[in-house]
Symmetry: C2
Subunit: 139 residues, 2 copies
């Protein structure tokens, strides 16, 4: 029995590889952010005015951790956070002009690094893998 050959371990390795490639490639392009920060930017870009709980839902994240992620995006000056008038519990999120600019510049970089996350798979195998992955996460 080899625990290193099981689903759990293989997926952990993939995640490791994925995060590493994301950070290295975006840094090489002159940016400083993590994959989850990008996912949050993307969610806010698609749904301006949304709140943290909605962002967490969209990117399949927990409510507790998203606060810190958004806070770091706010500190970078990419995200604006204001208390909602509709619901004073909630904070409405939007990209700042700087955030808009950064996000637009990031999109092609992030798109291009996807293939490098699975470098030892050919195009057909990669497409096959992604299709199965999509199915596995129920999407």
């Amino acid at each position: 029995m080899d625990s290193l050959d099981m689903a759990g371990h293989l997926i952990r390795r993939l995640h490791q590889q994925s995060t590493l490639v994301f950070v290295q490639r975006t840094q090489a392009a002159g940016f400083d952010l993590t994959p989850i920060q990008f996912a949050a930017l993307d969610a806010i870009h698609n749904q301006p005015g949304t709140d943290q709980a909605r962002v967490a839902e969209m990117i399949a994240y927990d409510r507790a951790t998203i606060g810190g992620v958004i806070e770091r995006l706010e500190q970078k000056g990419w995200v604006h956070r204001v208390v909602s008038e509709r619901d004073r519990r909630a904070r409405e999120l939007s990209l700042t002009p700087e955030g808009q600019r950064i996000f637009k510049a990031l999109v092609p970089v992030v798109r291009n690094l996807q293939d490098d996350i699975l470098p030892s798979l050919g195009d057909a195998d990669r497409a096959r893998f992604l299709k199965l992955a999509r199915q596995a996460v129920g999407q």
Copy 2:
């Protein structure tokens, strides 16, 4: 462009799912440990007398974090850690009798939960996915 449909994000979701299933299923069986703690136990079981740097290598982990993982296993009383006589920088690791017992009891539990990590894939698709994953991590 939908960042949620890209390789990086799908892999993060898989990792999330994988960790959740591992913890839930092992807890249901009466154990309290994380996937990485199990991987470390497995490595030490396979190579008794090895040191932390070797364990980190075996399970593709970084040297800095493995110290904490092993320390928690030591606190649980599952791993014994002694300064090596060959090389006083290194600490030789081995499973305690309790650790041996726990590991043996864990093996079937961990093996059985693997399929639940990818529940929406049929047997054939799961095998296909794992083969591609193995290839992707260069194994």
